[in-house]
Symmetry: C2
Subunit: 376 residues, 2 copies
């Protein structure tokens, strides 16, 4: 609790764009987000005065940071379980807690837990040898149980040679069937420690090379699957004891929805909510973490398209000039830049376009992202 | 220009809530607002790391602050003309410039200038003696030519005794007729140094004791007056050479619209644009100051109501608890707190509700503001 403002002090571990956008939301709630950043040039560190530079994997750094905070939450899921336990043992309120976060950190633990809940998933098995993979069957997907993101830690394997190559890296692995996709979708849900939940409309996620290129809200999947996604979200959030935002990525197949991944924080597939929902996922995350009543998750427009901006090749016009070209051509685009140095393939921002028509909103959003990425 | 981000560095003089909300908008544009605050506990100073504490009336402080900024702009209109001229003489790009800002600082200069443009205004005259006021006629309004805001510097006078009392304060005054109001409205326009403009829909401003209680967008004034307000906004912005946001407060009378006040910055009557327009007045101000192409000023909902939150009487529940009560009852309310210590009558935040129906949106917004103000 901040004695001057009579308002809580929230600490976020990690100084990336999620912390940056959470700070924007915190300002509206009368607060200023406290950030534990790895570097003072981090995306969030450059926009909030309450930055501590430290190591999120070091219990001493994290405990020192947590001192005096009403609650501590996360911009990523890399904080080790032993550090999370040390925080809880010290009486720090962390949201989500270590028990829940485990399932966002460890895909094997997640698959085992969701299997017990009888939730729809691709067929899967833990594998530690070529014969395990052989027994599971080719073709399949091998996934690192921990540490993967944005397509990293995921391998398509078709034969023992490829399986051996992945196994030789020594990381703990699970195998999953390759499901015939109609579409990828995601659903966001917020849950408070008191158990209140709010589910956002399901969104389509357009993927390329394992990276989300764009999202389309609401997903064009029909009422039945929408209801099924919401049921899955409610079940996962309450059964796993998630607090804050939970994002569930799902595969849509001919047989319905299958759970792909979980993230327990604001997530790229929810960036559209800044303009596209009454309450953004960032404010909702703060409300949930603080056990405040949640805000409306209703759409603000018939269609909301978000396009990610990845760093493009070197050269071309300065970023400043690219923004101006984009702004001149697409006055309805809502730009969000993360203040990061541009490197090819790195997520440096996103753009959102709301409207009445999917094709036109998507065209504008992707065109706007292209202006920033390529300068043309 | 920031060498790391290839983006401009904007400085804002004044660390109030306008700078605070401009910082939120700057973050989305990839920047971090630089703020010259009077105190390190100022509303904006507590949420941006780029704060300089200094005196906005001191040319040396302001010149030092301006060093290295792409452009310098303002959270208030109190910076003296001699300081503005010193900035311009030093080659600092200030937006709006000293010539334009004069008309937001000096009501007499504003009235003289707008008279020459033949724009609709209440009858007015400069007055410096009781006989001047007598000649102008009772009842009338006396206004301090400089320094007034939120009802301060404005006196209703009905007779020579009252006029004498105001005159004895020694401030330079103008007299204005008291016009029979149907309604008060305001119009926001952004203008870039290149001359591009965007006008926002006209809003109704609900006033009590000279303070804006709420705004209703769009104003229910009919197409003809809407067009007239837009014409006035375009004329004032271009003829006075305004850059950045310009707010014009107008009286609606039986004979049409009359210009009341000008402000050359984001303004309370434009706070609704954060959720209610595609581009908020804060981002639009930054775009205009930087000579970026402007964003769409279209409404995002049929009706958008903003209610100011004033500090209420001492006692009652903690602010934190008030927020929770409000959030539980009105999940559609968008809260904006300014991080200011609560004092009776002080603007400490605002709340916005979008919807399809004026009465219901207004009821929700005013109820939400009451929760925060009174805790019940």
């Amino acid at each position: 609790m901040d004695p001057n403002t009579q308002l809580p002090a929230v600490g976020m571990i990690g100084g990336g764009q999620l912390a940056r956008m959470t700070h924007q939301a915190a300002i509206s709630l009368g607060q200023s987000l406290h950030v534990l950043a790895a570097d003072e040039s981090d995306s969030a560190a450059v926009v909030t005065p309450r930055t501590t530079v430290g190591d999120w994997s070091d219990a001493a750094d994290v405990l020192a940071f947590a001192e005096g905070k009403t609650a501590v939450t996360f911009d990523h899921e890399h904080v080790p379980q032993e550090v999370l336990r040390a925080l809880e043992d010290a009486g720090v309120r962390i949201e989500p807690g270590a028990d829940a976060l485990l399932y966002a950190q460890d895909k094997q633990a997640m698959r085992e837990r969701l299997s017990k809940l009888d939730l729809p998933m691709p067929r899967w098995a833990p594998v530690s040898s070529v014969s395990d993979v052989e027994a599971f069957g080719y073709p399949c997907v091998l996934k690192a149980a921990t540490g993967g993101y944005d397509g990293k830690g995921v391998w398509m394997v078709d034969n023992p040679t490829e399986a051996q190559e992945v196994l030789s890296s020594g990381v703990r692995l699970i195998a999953e069937e390759r499901v015939p996709l109609l579409r990828e979708v995601a659903v966001q849900i917020a849950r408070t420690p008191s158990g209140e939940t709010r589910v956002y409309p399901v969104v389509e996620t357009v993927q390329r090379d394992g990276i989300c290129v764009a999202t389309i809200a609401p997903a064009r999947i029909g009422e039945e699957l929408e209801a099924e996604a919401r049921r899955v979200a409610e079940t996962v959030a309450s059964e796993l004891g998630v607090t804050g935002m939970l994002a569930i990525e799902l595969f849509q197949t001919n047989d319905g929805l299958l759970i792909n991944e979980l993230a327990m924080r604001p997530h790229n597939s929810g960036h559209w909510t800044i303009e596209g929902a009454v309450t953004s996922q960032f404010e909702q995350h703060l409300r949930a973490v603080l056990d405040y009543p949640l805000g409306s998750a209703d759409l603000t427009a018939p269609v909301v398209v978000m396009a990610n901006i990845l760093g493009g090749p070197d050269g071309g016009p300065r970023l400043d000039e690219r923004i101006q070209k984009m702004a001149a051509e697409i006055p309805e685009a809502r730009l969000h830049l993360y203040g990061k140095a541009i490197r090819p393939g790195r997520k440096i921002g996103h753009v959102t376009v709301s409207g009445a028509d999917v094709d036109s909103a998507r065209r504008s959003a992707l065109r706007a992202a292209q202006w920033i990425r390529e300068g043309r």
